[in-house]
């Protein structure tokens, strides 16, 4: 399904600093929010930053149609995101959205969501969406440290939350993919949705493949336009090079050629 895309100035109505590297923006749309699906993203314009020529893509973290707001969860990685971290309530942020495809609607209730780092961003929206379809997923989230563990009580509203931290300061120690649920002989999940660093997604895909569990991952390639015309964000698939911004960002792992996967 291809949804109509918009270029809008949204207003920052709430700014929340989660920890040193992450912040949340709640953005109010001046017009009725368009239909947005979980897994879709927005391209945000970074103003007054000469070093930031291109927009920055962010997954939609959650949508509140009642309040006409959406949230972005942003990790400060460079000049562009640093600049965005200085936005204040009342400021405008120009978005092109909604972009890309979405996670599929699973035909099972045994669903596992796996997120690592900033890759947790689309999973909250996905969990909310699944709840509306009476699916309460298991949500496995990997963070670096206890300080970066955030919004757990919100995820917990929509599913059973499991946590790992790299240093073991909260939840199980290690990466999300090292969590003990993967050790059990019989993984009961019939669908895995995963978003995070490439290495993590590959590892989860490997488990899914071995256990014959259907798995979708959300890729984050560098992109210029975000709506399919620059052909910069491609990933090799069984149908040739495809655009992460249009044919993705969500791909079934069976379609991806992981051997050629960059990084």
């Amino acid at each position: 399904m291809e949804l109509k895309k918009f270029v809008h100035d949204l207003q920052v109505v709430h700014y929340q600093r989660l920890n040193e590297r992450h912040f949340l923006l709640e953005l109010l749309s001046p017009e009725k929010l368009p239909l947005i699906l979980p897994g879709q993203f927005a391209q945000a314009l970074v103003e007054n930053s000469p070093a930031t020529f291109l927009r920055r893509p962010f997954s939609i973290h959650s949508v509140d149609y009642g309040a006409n707001t959406l949230k972005l969860l942003i990790q400060i990685k460079g000049e562009g995101t640093l600049r965005l971290s200085r936005l204040k309530e009342g400021d405008a942020l120009n978005l092109i959205y909604p972009l890309g495809n979405s996670f599929s609607i699973p035909n099972t209730k045994d669903v596992l969501l796996v997120g690592g780092g900033c890759g947790v961003a689309p999973l909250l929206f996905l969990a909310q969406f699944l709840n509306q379809r009476h699916i309460h997923p298991t949500i496995l989230l990997g963070f670096r440290t206890r300080e970066e563990v955030s919004e757990i009580e919100i995820y917990a509203k929509y599913g059973n939350v499991l946590i790992t931290t790299d240093d073991g300061s909260e939840g199980e120690k290690g990466l999300a993919v090292n969590h003990s649920i993967f050790n059990s002989e019989k993984l009961s999940f019939k669908k895995i949705f995963c978003c995070g660093p490439d290495a993590m997604m590959k590892a989860v895909a490997e488990i899914a493949r071995k256990r014959e569990i259907s798995c979708e991952v959300s890729l984050e390639n560098s992109m210029a336009c975000g709506f399919g015309v620059c052909l910069c964000c491609i990933t090799p698939t069984v149908s040739g090079n495809e655009r992460v911004c249009v044919e993705g960002p969500v791909f079934n792992i069976n379609r991806l050629k992981w051997n050629n996967f960059a990084n």
Partner: protein
């Protein structure tokens, strides 16, 4: 209301603003954002003889005031264009101009011949300047005798308006401009991207899979303006100027330097509505300066 229309080698553009190949897809990708019928023309992305997968990821590097790309002419080939793309874009209420690329003279000729048969395509833009393909591409655009040869070969089979897109990666742009005029070009479009490079010092690696790529965006505008002005003074055929145009002021600078029309390229990535804003901005400028026809701005640079 001022007259924004321009005549490009006999082709009437409703205004001088068009969109650059490789930055605008096949046009319909922008349908949610703008009314395509307002554009002077749409230059659709490069078409080659056969399917090309393009270069490996990463293909893009952001730079100060611009970006590098090394897409490598990814497209599904001329058969696919004629069969699957053309029917869906043929009835746009603007000129659809096809960017024709290749690795050999034969490939350029073959693609041009096929496009010549498409009734609603009034012109082609011969891409002899892509820096991201190993064979052909830019070689044809940097050696004057080769530029003449490929232009003349296409001229023999292509009966409509033949535009040739020049590479800036040369010592003397006017030599190349004269070479394509000798080959029979009707229009020059200029400039394609400047060959550049980006390095990730932390990893001690190039950012692009191809190491080098084509630089576009406002970083290249002064170079493009200079070249348009030089070529305007060297040849008689019309020029369509591009290179880092972000707003109406930039577009007017190109007209003053000698371009008869302009293309908006990389700016489309940042603001998909920018081409329409540029048209409106040119009209505002003309009203402000009491200029009746945009044609009066072409090459109207005051140098005394």
């Amino acid at each position: 209301m001022p007259d924004l229309s321009v005549n490009i080698a006999g082709l009437h553009f409703k205004n001088p603003v068009s969109t650059a190949s490789g930055t605008f897809g096949y046009g319909d990708e922008f349908r949610d954002f703008i009314d395509l019928a307002r554009l002077g023309a749409v230059f659709v992305k490069a078409v080659t003889g056969k399917n090309r997968e393009g270069n490996a990821y990463p293909r893009m590097a952001e730079t100060s005031s611009g970006m590098l790309n090394s897409v490598g002419l990814q497209n599904k080939g001329v058969d696919h264009f004629c069969r699957d793309i053309y029917p869906r874009i043929r009835n746009f209420d603007t000129h659809i101009i096809v960017n024709v690329s290749g690795s050999t003279v034969e490939e350029y000729v073959e693609v041009a011949q096929r496009i010549n048969e498409l009734e609603k395509i009034p012109a082609i833009e011969l891409n002899i300047s892509c820096p991201n393909v190993k064979l052909g591409g830019m070689a044809f655009g940097t050696i004057p005798s080769m530029a003449t040869e490929v232009t003349a070969a296409v001229r023999k089979v292509y009966k409509k308006i033949l535009m040739v897109k020049l590479s800036p990666n040369v010592t003397s742009i006017t030599d190349l401009a004269k070479a394509v005029v000798d080959g029979g070009a009707d229009v020059i479009t200029m400039i394609n991207t400047l060959l550049g490079m980006a390095i990730d010092a932390e990893r001690r690696q190039p950012v692009l899979s191809t190491i080098t790529g084509g630089l576009s965006g406002p970083a290249i505008k002064p170079v493009a303006l200079r070249m348009v002005w030089q070529v305007h003074n060297a040849v008689k055929i019309p020029i369509i100027g591009l290179g880092g145009i972000m707003n109406a002021a930039d577009a007017i600078e190109f007209l003053l330097a000698g371009a008869s029309a302009i293309q908006v390229g990389t700016a489309n990535f940042i603001d998909p509505c920018v081409s329409i804003k540029i048209i409106d901005g040119i009209e505002d400028y003309m009203n402000r300066h009491k200029i009746e026809s945009v044609a009066l701005l072409i090459g109207a640079l005051r140098t005394e």
